[in-house]
């Protein structure tokens, strides 16, 4: 019997087969297939479930110490070139396989509840399965080229899912923005891959690393060029993992249905960039300049995300900026040369951030019962409050997530974030300061979200505030009433059904416990990914070093939480007056997201439109103008044109043809 690793190609193929089957059904028998909601959901959930079982078998083998399995075949070839494809299973891939299938499975179960009333239910599940397939293909890719293939495919799925509610203008714009910004990153990635192939003749991670180092050491390649190529490749992860300045698409991508935000835009796809950087460690490691750039980009991102999250009033956008910030932490770890720490944070973050997003989905779902299907209202925290009484499971799990991300031991976020900060402290102390301060901001904004949403009095029936919000969003109250007229079922929200509550409860378990697998004195996680490093870590571990740093992190997190409690639970401090009013410039700067969107719009969006318009102008006036002028001149006074106007074009064509034949015969007979 073949081992699980040899069957690993089935893991992406199973969901793909399911998605293709349903997709073809949707195209050919749209109505019938759209009515088969439950069978489709069962089929696709079980295909992802089967992939999950296989993934865990692969992970178990890796835990038992199995080596790397790589299977390749010739995909395209010409001359002496062979482009190879295949799959590769090692510890890193196994961890990602298990993570992606688990979260995909939970999100699909959740979606059954969340999307229950949506007319695109079947289409949604198809996209979900398609995404799972692409993401799983990405993590078992054996070389850069295949990574690029799946990289684009997950981007496509993201495009389709962000634009899922395609009647909303916001979704349409966000989907396009997500794809185009990612293409900017892919532009660099593609050029980097091409350049590395030129320099090393390979697409494989280890070969590129070894040969690049050789070439630089041997003097056939200047180290500047090598660094440039590495940074070009890094543009891909910058876009996909929402690193400054290419992070702008991620907050907008929240226009997609919330399960998507949890799966794609928090747990899996956005982490693909971090995963790729981890895969590329053998390439990046020898170049200090590359590592430093990655660390600096990560640090800017983590600070930027957290600072913008401070002022967000939209629950999902708040979480989105939090994701940006956490991805910055992961990148910082990669830049510090600690891929294990970065991957560990990726795993813990995937669990608790997925839980937080699904929790926010549960809140939004409940809010829609009160304020109607209008995202401007249903997602705004100014209309929430007091939801804990109505939604005990959601609020409890959300609180667990907040504690986990804030970095309070023994929950998951503490261990992984502390590991990163420890590494940064040893490598780039200045960057550590930023990471450390941001940890306090993280605790503050997460608890701010929690208190505004779940504590205090319910504000959902505040019509004046609702009207104000609609006006601010540029939507008339009239449209809203029309749509939501039948939506006012209830005065207060209700807890969501079991399909939505169960995944929350399941995700709470790893959010609390999974960090214990990565304690610095006995890290099982590091033991799996890099046994050598794990042994070293355990050997060098000393409480004297660990406790002061960990204590400091806990202290600043607690301070952040305390401030949030004082401001939003006890209402002792009015931050609006104390800070926002006193520093209006800072407040505006944060509320306008560092003005990056405006800058992009002015510089790139308008700029490219203007450029395109002027090129078209040149095309029609100058290039075509010359042609028409020549045409007119040859036709003289336009006598010739008469023929065409009178419908005797065929006759003219015959003359041309006859003339040509005569010419041929003439030349022929002359010869």
């Amino acid at each position: 019997m073949p081992s699980a690793a040899e069957l690993a190609w089935l893991i992406p193929v199973l969901p793909l087969a399911g998605a293709c089957l349903v997709g073809l059904g949707l195209i050919s028998f749209n109505r019938t297939v759209n009515r088969l909601r439950k069978p489709v959901a069962v089929l696709l959930i079980s295909s992802v479930g089967a992939a999950a079982v296989l993934s865990y078998a692969v992970l178990a083998q890796q835990l038992a110490g199995a080596g790397t399995t790589e299977v390749l075949f010739n995909w395209a070839s010409a001359g002496s070139f062979n482009l190879q494809m295949g799959f590769r299973v090692d510890a890193l891939a196994a961890v990602m396989l298990a993570l992606v299938t688990t979260i995909a499975l939970l999100v699909m179960v959740y979606s059954d509840g969340y999307m229950a009333h949506d007319k695109g239910y079947v289409r949604f599940f198809t996209y979900l399965a398609l995404f799972s397939s692409s993401m799983l293909g990405l993590v078992i890719s054996p070389n850069l080229l295949e990574i690029y293939v799946f990289w684009e495919l997950v981007g496509m799925c993201s495009y389709l899912l962000v634009g899922f509610w395609y009647d909303r203008d916001g979704a349409a714009n966000a989907a396009q923005k997500a794809f185009v910004v990612n293409r900017v990153g892919d532009f660099g990635l593609l050029l980097g891959i091409l350049g590395l192939f030129w320099a090393t003749g390979s697409f494989g991670f280890e070969e590129i690393g070894a040969r690049l180092q050789e070439a630089v050491a041997g003097g056939s390649l200047s180290s500047g060029v090598a660094v440039l190529l590495c940074l070009l490749v890094f543009m891909g992860p910058m876009a996909k993992s929402a690193q400054f300045p290419l992070h702008v698409w991620l907050p907008d991508a929240m226009e997609g249905p919330t399960p998507i935000s949890a799966l794609i835009h928090a747990a899996t796809m956005v982490a693909a960039g971090v995963f790729l950087v981890a895969r590329l460690q053998p390439v990046y490691e020898p170049f200090a300049a590359v590592q430093l750039t990655i660390a600096v980009v990560g640090t800017i991102t983590l600070f930027l995300g957290a600072s913008i999250a401070l002022t967000q009033m939209d629950l999902k956008k708040g979480l989105a900026y939090s994701t940006v910030s956490q991805l910055g932490y992961m990148m910082l770890a990669m830049g510090c040369g600690a891929p294990v720490a970065g991957m560990f944070h990726l795993v813990t973050h995937a669990f608790f951030k997925a839980m937080l997003f699904l929790g926010s989905g549960s809140v939004i779902h409940a809010m829609e019962e009160v304020v109607g299907h209008e995202p401007v209202l249903a997602q705004d925290m100014r209309l929430m409050g007091g939801l804990r009484k109505h939604m005990p499971i959601t609020s409890a799990t959300f609180l667990v997530g907040c504690v986990a991300i804030a970095g309070i031991p023994p929950l998951a976020g503490f261990w992984s974030k502390d590991e990163i900060l420890g590494q940064a402290f040893n490598t780039y102390p200045l960057l550590w300061v930023m990471g450390f301060v941001t940890a306090g901001m993280t605790a503050f904004y997460m608890f701010r979200l929690y208190f505004l949403t779940f504590e205090g009095e319910f504000r959902g029936n505040d019509q004046a505030m609702a009207a104000q919000l609609l006006a601010a969003a540029g939507k008339g109250a009239g449209d809203h009433d029309e749509e939501a007229g039948h939506g006012h079922h209830a005065d207060h929200p209700h807890e969501s059904g079991w399909q939505m509550a169960a995944p929350l409860a399941v995700l709470a378990v790893p959010s609390v416990l999974i960090g214990l697998l990565g304690t610095p004195w006995n890290s099982r996680f590091a033991g799996l990914l890099d046994p050598h490093e794990a042994a070293e870590m355990a050997e060098h571990f000393s409480w004297g070093e660990f406790l002061p740093l960990a204590g400091a992190s806990v202290a600043i997190s607690s301070a952040g939480i305390a401030l949030a409690v004082a401001a939003y639970a006890l209402k002792r401090v009015d931050l609006g007056r104390a800070v926002a009013a006193r520093f209006p410039a800072v407040n505006a700067f944060l509320a306008n997201k560092w003005y990056l969107d405006d800058l992009n719009d002015k510089l790139f969006v308008q700029g490219s439109r203007k450029l395109a318009r002027s090129v078209l102008e040149v095309d029609s006036k100058v290039v075509d103008g010359v042609v028409n002028l020549t045409g007119l001149m040859t036709l003289g006074s336009g006598e010739g044109l008469k023929y065409f106007e009178t419908g005797r074009a065929q006759f003219y064509a015959l003359i041309v043809f006859g003339g040509v034949i005569a010419l041929v015969v003439l030349f022929g007979s002359l010869g």
Binding site: A78, Y166, D167, Q176, L191, S608, R609, Q650, A653, G671
Partner: protein, 525 residues
């Protein structure tokens, strides 16, 4: 004597077209369309039969060859054959024409003439790819113009006369260069012959090659098209009906690329060694220039027409790449664009049938009612923006990798060209996704919905697109199903051009672009 597959595939559709006047039809095209579809399908089967029975992909030379003296006093011979350059395009032609016949189902104005021209074009286009005689090639090239001209002039849009005239003047004018170059080559040296093989054996002087090359480049540059010789295309495409469109984008543009490979590269390798950097530069100009004009276009048909020009840029870079991988990529890009371009233009036609407008400003929110159409549009647009898993990605990637690793250009030239070409990677999704957004996304356009009948895609339309998507995705998943069928010929071609390159002493100007020494053997395998 083996069955003459190629002659049959040329003469059968033309012969059958002559029978169309005798097909009983009430004038609404309901009978004649079945006849045309049947003939197109049989033609497709004949080409497939030829491919399966008489064509061995591993052989680099001419196969399925047939030679009959026709007018010996003119030196004219009926000489057909296929190698790796022509066989895939012959298959593409018969395939796309069969689908175009199906796409032409709603044509009710002068259906007999329409189908007559369609079938005549089928045979004419296969002849362009299959003939092995310069004079015959010229005849086929000219013959195929007339059906296109009439199809444009009679069934086109409002500005059809202008577009058709422009088309015929452009192409007929430029084809004069083919005739001149062809005659010059035929009469060069001691022997007179129009056969490709005989011309290949001739040892043209470098100066002579340059002259012929320049002439042919203009002629084929109009067809491909190469900016700035492209302005007939947006007009012709903007006015054509959907089935004609499919043929224009799917096959006609490929004649330019094929002829560049066949004549400029194969017959005039020494001149090609001089001109190749120019081809690469023109390719990059095509990609960026046409992508920008496409982005600014507000007319759907013209937008897609410009996007065709942009995609043809990769063909030019591949042809100029001096690498087997790049040239193979150029070939694949032609096939791939033939399929993707045809599918997009078919969808434009199908959408126009419903909205009765092509102005993007007058559309919007159409996705509410036309969900299947929306899905088809999305898939084909993604194919066009070179999404992996579909053929466009593979061909563009092959061109990129082939060009970047090509040893004949200096590093700086390669870097600049690759970076500029990669800008196309950003521009393509911008205009295609904006287009999708403006047609399908957002709130329904009330005015549009009130006066047009937005019914969803019908089975015939889904079937046409599916037929195109199967090879698009098939090639995307495993490109060797296509590349292996012409691999040997491309490798022989690249060997030929590389050995010619080694003989050329670089002039000072080209020295800036080209590396001094060429290691020819390292490129071949």
């Amino acid at each position: 004597m083996p069955f003459p597959w190629l002659s049959a595939s040329i003469l059968f559709p033309i012969g059958s077209a002559l029978l169309i006047p005798f097909v009983p039809d009430k004038g609404d095209g309901k009978q004649v369309r079945w006849f045309a579809l049947g003939v197109a399908l049989v033609t497709f089967l004949i080409t497939v039969g030829g491919y399966l029975n008489g064509y061995d992909p591993s052989v680099e030379g001419l196969q399925l060859a047939q030679h009959i003296d026709w007018l010996p006093q003119l030196g004219l011979a009926w000489s057909v054959g296929a190698d790796g350059l022509s066989m895939p395009l012959i298959l593409l032609t018969s395939f796309i024409t069969a689908l175009a016949a199906l796409a032409a189902w709603p044509v009710s104005f002068k259906p007999k003439l329409f189908y007559f021209l369609l079938l005549a074009m089928d045979g004419g286009q296969i002849a362009v790819f299959a003939v092995q005689d310069m004079l015959l090639f010229f005849l086929a090239w000219e013959l195929e113009l007339i059906p296109v001209y009439l199809l444009l002039a009679i069934w086109g849009g409002k500005k059809r006369q202008y577009a058709a005239t422009k088309f015929i003047l452009y192409t007929a004018g430029s084809s004069l260069f083919i005739l001149l170059a062809g005659l010059a080559m035929a009469f060069y040296g001691d022997s007179i012959s129009f056969e490709y093989t005989a011309l290949m054996a001739k040892d043209f002087s470098a100066q002579f090659q340059l002259l012929c090359y320049a002439g042919l480049l203009i002629a084929f540059g109009v067809k491909l098209p190469i900016v700035p010789l492209h302005t007939w295309l947006p007009d012709a495409h903007g006015e054509a009906t959907a089935p004609v469109h499919m043929l224009l984008a799917g096959i006609l543009l490929k004649m330019g690329g094929y002829a560049l490979l066949r004549f400029n590269v194969q017959l005039l390798p020494a001149a090609h060694a001089q001109f190749a950097p120019l081809l690469v530069v023109l390719g990059v100009v095509n990609i960026i220039y046409a992508a920008l004009t496409s982005f600014a276009q507000r007319n759907l048909k013209r937008k897609i027409a410009y996007s065709s020009i942009s995609h043809m840029g990769f063909v030019l870079i591949g042809i100029g790449s001096f690498s087997a991988l790049g040239t193979s990529g150029a070939m694949l890009q032609m096939i791939s664009h033939g399929l993707i371009g045809a599918s997009l233009f078919f969808l434009v036609g199908a959408t126009y049938d419903r909205t009765h407008t092509l102005q993007l400003d007058e559309m919007g929110g159409v996705g509410q009612k036309m969900r299947k159409m929306f899905a088809l549009w999305t898939v084909c647009s993604l194919a066009s923006l070179a999404l992996p898993g579909m053929s466009g990605f593979v061909s563009e990637l092959m061109v990129f990798v082939g060009f970047v690793t090509s040893e004949v250009y200096t590093l700086s030239f390669r870097v600049v060209m690759a970076v500029l070409a990669a800008v196309g990677v950003i521009l393509t999704p911008i205009y295609l996704l904006s287009m999708l957004r403006e047609i399908f996304f957002g709130k329904e356009n009330a005015e549009l919905a009130s006066h047009s009948n937005l019914v969803d895609a019908e089975p015939r339309e889904i079937y046409v697109i599916s037929c195109l998507l199967v090879p698009i995705i098939g090639i995307g998943l495993y490109p060797r199903i296509m590349t292996d069928s012409y691999r040997a010929s491309i490798e022989a071609l690249v060997r030929r051009e590389t050995s010619a390159m080694a003989l050329v002493i670089p002039t000072p100007a080209s020295g800036l672009i080209r590396q001094a020494s060429v290691q020819a053997p390292s490129l071949t395998g």
